[in-house]
């Protein structure tokens, strides 16, 4: 450890609270609430935190602006950033699924239309899933409230994250297929892993035990 200060990128929003709690238990006193601040020193001054939009965490880590970070696997699917995924932290678990209106019956084996329109925030994952299955489709990139798209008639299906399934049920939609499972990952910059080896390996071990 010996005093090497780590720069840690953390995602704003849903994963922040659990990430901060986990870091605290691993011995890095991170504030539970950072307000509007984007750059925060840990209470003991030994780590610097960058609080970022989750989609930006991989870029900050790849360029070495942060030594390491916590980010959902769902974010990693959507980028080409080369970061090393050292641990599955387990929290923030959710599934990436194909979902559609219950009344369309795709979940009971009804055939997709010959040219499927899919609304999603997860363009790459959706594209890969359907092209692997040879389903001709058009991906409609949206930024939020994706489950509205089939109801509003601009898509036949959606690809989205599901944690409890309540949002889907509320819109009378069902899961057609599960694409992948996501959870929070501890990622490091490959070169910093070497340059700050002792500090990063020690943090990894403490995160495992925390």
């Amino acid at each position: 450890m010996n005093g090497e200060r780590l720069v840690i990128a953390l995602p704003k929003g849903a994963l922040y609270g659990e990430s901060a709690a986990r870091l605290c238990r691993a011995g890095i006193p991170v504030p539970q609430d950072v307000g509007r601040r984007l750059q925060v020193r840990s209470d003991d001054g030994r780590a610097e935190l960058l609080v970022l939009r989750s989609a930006d965490v991989p870029a900050y880590v790849e360029f070495g602006a942060a030594d390491c970070g916590i980010v959902g696997k769902d974010t990693l699917w959507e980028t080409d950033r080369s970061v090393s995924e050292l641990a599955d932290l387990g929290f923030g678990a959710c599934r990436l699924v194909v979902a559609a209106r219950r009344s369309d019956g795709y979940h009971e084996g009804a055939r997709y239309p010959t040219f499927l329109r899919v609304a999603t925030k997860f363009k790459r994952s959706a594209q890969a899933y359907f092209s692997e299955r040879d389903v001709p489709c058009e991906i409609i990139a949206l930024h939020g409230s994706v489950e509205l798209a089939p109801l509003a008639g601009i898509a036949d299906a959606i690809v989205d994250l599901v944690a409890t399934g309540r949002t889907l049920a509320a819109h009378d939609m069902v899961v057609v297929d599960e694409i992948a499972r996501s959870s929070a990952r501890f990622v490091v910059n490959p070169v910093r892993f070497r340059a700050k080896y002792d500090a990063l390996v020690s943090l990894l071990e403490r995160l495992h035990d925390a």
């Binding site: 880590v61 360029f63 080369s82 641990a87 910059n189 070169v191 910093r192 070497r194």
Partner: protein, 394 residues
């Protein structure tokens, strides 16, 4: 007029700085008795393709000549050099020592440290194998980063044969071995654990493999890997690495070199020893290289080779961050007015001479010299030549 994305101009001061770095690198090449070569900027795609991994293949700028022949811009220099050696230097006695400083082109998302046109400097030692040749490549790279002003650079080394041996001992073969190696190279422990649970692996060996993927050190890594290196090839590779570390230690470089079991670089390209050099403040490596014994045989010449290269722009980026480029640059030794002959004799003395072409008067010449930090002014007229030493403390 806008430039296409991923390319840049080099204005005088920036370019002088780049040239300076390139010259320092060339000095190292000369001191190791390497000869510089240059190949064409573009050549047939078929020739370049021999050395390309899948990723580089997708990043190649390809185009067709008017007859429809497929051409490509070089993405790196090792493949063209392998072609030249196979085609034109077969009579030359081995080993050959060739070096280059050249631009290369890749279709990438432009970002920090990654441009579509960039300069690589590197060296190839062709027709020699063994720890001595591998060490030569590594030591040249260390001296190069020292020479450009990055003496704190660290180097990680590994051998692809060791990883092959360990992966085989753990029970992976064929496609699963490739997947396993890719996970090790990315240091993706999550995927590695998943892979391990899905295959009939030998559990204690697999645990050691996981531990090795996270371990970086020297003798401890060799000790950990030794019992699970099943093949003769991997045991020989361990011996070579140990030998290289001993040699480095004798040169006082022990602390600068570590073994990193997860360092694999391009899997299709490198067949044995590999290394990378980096500094702590940049998040990507500055230089790298290794042994590529399968490349020249693809051009029909059965010889082994080892080489390395450094990204010139990445070095500039590293130096820039340390503000080492802020020294003032004086481009002119003497300002001459009124005589071509005086100017020529100054040039013949080896000085950098600037001629006044605007017919400035004496005061204006002095003001200009002060502004440009030119130390001497020579003003010729019918009475002779007046020499003025410009007062710099103003």
């Amino acid at each position: 007029m806008k430039l296409p994305s991923g390319v840049r101009d080099w204005l005088p001061q920036e370019f002088a700085f780049k040239r300076d770095v390139e010259e320092r690198i060339r000095d190292v090449f000369r001191s190791w008795s390497y000869s510089e070569v240059l190949t064409p900027t573009f050549e047939s795609y078929e020739a370049l393709e021999q050395g390309l991994g899948e990723r580089l293949m997708q990043q190649t700028f390809r185009f067709a000549d008017p007859l429809g022949q497929s051409l490509a811009l070089r993405t790196e220099m090792t493949t063209p050099i392998a072609r030249v050696v196979s085609a034109r230097l077969r009579q030359a006695s081995l080993p050959l020592r060739l070096a280059y400083v050249a631009t290369a082109f890749r279709y990438e998302e432009p970002q920090l440290g990654r441009m579509r046109e960039f300069t690589q400097a590197g060296a190839e030692l062709i027709g020699a194998s063994g720890a001595g040749a591998d060490a030569e490549a590594l030591f040249m790279a260390i001296e190069t980063l020292d020479a450009v002003g990055l003496p704190d650079a660290r180097f990680d080394v590994n051998d692809a044969a060791i990883v092959d041996g360990v992966v085989a001992s753990a029970g992976f073969d064929g496609e699963s071995a490739e997947t396993c190696k890719r996970c090790i190279a990315e240091r993706n422990l999550v995927a590695l654990r998943e892979l391990g649970s899905g295959h009939a692996v030998d559990p204690p060996t697999f645990e050691t493999l996981l531990r090795l993927t996270m371990t970086r050190g020297r003798d401890d890594v060799l000790r950990m890997a030794a019992p699970i290196c099943a093949t003769d090839r991997s045991r020989a590779a361990l011996e070579r690495l140990a030998d290289i570390l001993r040699r480095a230690e004798a040169l006082g470089w022990r602390e600068r070199i570590n073994i990193d079991f997860a360092l694999l670089r391009d899997l299709r390209y490198y067949t044995g020893f590999v290394f990378e050099g980096y500094i702590a403040d940049l998040g990507f490596s500055l230089c790298g290289g290794g042994r590529y014994d399968q490349l020249l045989p693809r051009f029909g010449y059965e010889v082994p080779a080892v080489g390395w290269m450094v990204g010139v722009e990445r070095i500039l980026l590293a130096l820039e961050r340390r503000r080492a480029d802020e020294r003032p640059r004086n481009e002119v030794d003497v300002l001459v007015s009124g005589s071509d002959a005086v100017a020529r004799s100054e040039r013949e003395r080896g000085l950098r001479v600037r001629l006044d072409v605007r017919g400035l008067d004496r005061d204006a010449l002095l003001a200009y010299a002060r502004h440009k930090e030119i130390p001497r002014v020579l003003i010729a007229n019918c009475d002779g030549v007046e020499e003025i030493v410009v007062d710099r403390d103003r």
